[in-house]
Symmetry: C2
Subunit: 291 residues, 2 copies
C-alpha cells in the first residue's frame, strides 16, 4: 500500500486522571483541510470508516457516520421537554448539526453562537450534510463569545443547547457556575437547557460535580444518555436543567403528535420511545447523580 492509503489519525483519549492511556485511530483517505484558527487547530479528514471527520485540537468533534446521535439528542430532548419552544439558542455547534435538527421544530428563531468563524466556514464547505441549514432564514449565526452573548440576554430563550467541546481548554468557561447562572437568566420563566456532559465511564466525578452545582441554580436537573462510538467512552451523557418541566411528565404521545404535525423526518436515533429510554440510567450512573 502506498503511504497515502496508510495515513492514520489518532485521538489520545484522556481519562479523568489526566493520563492519555488510550487512543482511537481512524484510517484516512484524504486530509481535506488544516488551519490554525484564532482559537484552535481545525482539521477535516475523509476517513474510510467514519466518512468526513472534524477534529479540533486533535479531538474528534463530529463524523458523518455517527453525528446523528449527538445532534439529535442535544436538540430534540430539551426541545420536546418544552411544550412550545419559539426561540432557541445554540452555544457552540459551529458545524451546524444541532441547528439542522432544531430547525425541524416550528421555531420562530434559532440562534447559533460559536466563537470560531473558521469552524462555521469549514463545515459549510466540507461537512455539507451536517451544516445543511446555514441558509435557513430562521437561523441567525453569531461568531462571537458565547459567554458574553449569554450575559447580555435576559428571559429570552425557551430552550438553550450548549454544544461545547470538552471541559478542558477553551470551553472551560462554559462549565462554570457563573455561566450556568447566565443561562438561567437568559431562559424564559419556563425555559429548558441541555449541555453535553461527557461519559460516565471516563468522567464520573465531573458528572457528579456538575449535577451538584446545577442543582443550586435550577430546580430540575437530570441526566440522559446515548452512544457516540468516536467519543471517549462512547456511552455519552447530556445534562438537562429545567425551570418548570419534568421530562418524566412528557408523554410519548405528545412527542409523536408534534413530530407528525411538524412533519419531522429523518431522525435516526431519536424517537418518542428513545426520549423516555434515554433517561433510564444504569445503577452505576444513577448513583453518580443521587442528590
Amino acid at each position: 500500500m502506498d503511504e497515502r492509503v496508510e495515513h492514520w489519525i489518532s485521538e489520545h483519549q484522556a481519562l479523568e486522571n489526566g493520563m492519555s492511556d488510550q487512543r482511537l485511530s481512524l484510517r484516512v483517505k484524504q486530509h481535506l483541510y488544516s488551519k490554525k484558527s484564532q482559537y484552535q487547530q481545525v482539521d477535516v479528514f475523509d476517513t474510510w470508516s467514519y466518512g468526513r471527520v472534524l477534529q479540533l485540537d486533535g479531538v474528534f468533534q463530529t463524523t458523518e457516520k455517527d453525528e446523528f446521535v449527538y445532534h439529535e439528542m442535544i436538540s430534540h430532548v430539551p426541545l420536546f421537554t418544552h411544550p412550545d419552544p419559539k426561540k432557541y439558542l445554540i452555544i457552540g455547534g459551529g458545524d451546524g448539526g444541532v441547528a439542522r435538527e432544531a430547525l425541524k421544530h416550528p421555531l420562530e428563531k434559532a440562534y447559533l453562537v460559536d466563537i470560531d468563524e473558521d469552524v462555521v466556514t469549514v463545515s459549510k464547505k466540507y461537512l455539507r450534510s451536517i451544516g445543511s441549514e446555514f441558509d435557513n432564514p430562521r437561523l441567525s449565526v453569531h461568531c462571537t463569545d458565547g459567554i458574553k452573548f449569554m450575559q447580555e440576554r435576559k428571559h429570552e430563550f425557551d430552550v438553550i443547547s450548549i454544544d461545547s467541546t470538552d471541559p478542558i481548554g477553551p470551553a472551560v468557561g462554559l462549565f462554570s457556575n457563573e455561566f450556568y447562572q447566565d443561562v438561567f437568566n437568559a431562559l424564559t420563566p419556563d425555559g429548558v437547557m441541555a449541555c453535553q456532559s461527557e461519559s460516565p465511564f471516563y468522567y464520573p466525578e465531573f458528572i457528579r460535580d456538575l449535577h451538584k452545582r446545577l442543582r443550586t441554580i435550577f430546580p430540575i436537573v437530570t441526566l440522559y444518555t446515548g452512544v457516540i462510538p468516536t467519543y471517549p467512552g462512547a456511552f455519552w451523557s447530556w445534562t438537562l436543567a429545567s425551570k418548570k418541566y419534568q421530562p418524566a411528565d412528557v408523554a410519548m404521545d405528545s412527542i409523536a403528535k408534534r413530530m407528525k404535525a411538524g412533519n419531522m423526518k429523518n431522525m435516526k436515533w431519536f424517537s418518542p420511545e428513545i426520549y423516555k429510554a434515554s433517561f433510564v440510567l444504569p445503577p452505576f450512573v444513577q448513583q453518580l447523580i443521587r442528590a
Copy 2:
C-alpha cells in the same frame, strides 16, 4: 519514559466490509500472560485505563472496567424473560463473567461449555473478579465443543446464553442455522436463548440476516442493546429468541420482586428499568430487524 511504560496494545477493528480501518489502543502496564492455545492466541494484559484485559487472537474479549455491561446483559435479560429458570447453559464464556451473573439467580444448575480450557485456566488465575464463581457447586464446567454438546441435549435447558467471539474464525459455527436449530431442540418447550450479535453501527447486515434466519426457527425474535466501550462500535446488541415468553410482557415489578427475593446484588448496568429500556431501539436499528 521507559519502554515498558510506553507499551501499547491495539485491536484492529474490522468493519463489515472486512477492512481494518480503525483501531483502539490501550497503554499497557504489564503483559501478564501469553500463550498459543490449541485454538487461539490467548493474552492477558494489565492496562492503565481498563485494568486487566483478556485478548483472544488480538481481539479485546473482556476488561475489568467494562465487563459488567456485557456479562449482566447476556445473562439477566434472558433469565428474567423466563419466569422460573432452573437449568441454564452458557456456550463460550470461559472467562466466567456470565456464570458469575447467572448464579445470582436461584438456578438448580448452570453449565459452562467453552472449547478452550486455557481461557478458563487463565481467567481463574488472572481475572479473579470475573471468574469468581468457578468453584460454585451449582456450576458445571465442560471444556469441549459447544456445537457437539448442543447436539446431544434435548428439551433440557430453560435458558441458553451464547457468549461467542465474533462471527469470523473459530466461532462461525455458533452462528449457523444448524446450530440454532440444535439450540431450539436443547431448550425446554418454553425456553429462551440470547446471543451476542455485534454492533448495529458496524455490522448492520449481519444483524438483519441473523434475525431473518432466527425467525425461521423461533416464534419470538427480538434485539436489545447496551454499551461496551472496548468493543468495535461500542453500541452493542444481543438477540433474544424465545419459544413462548415475550419480553414486552415481562413486568418491571416482577423483575424487582425476583431480585429482592433472590437477594441479587452488585449489578452495575442491569435493573428492571434497564431491562425494558434495552429493548427500545433507535429508528436506524429498528429498520434493520423489521420483518
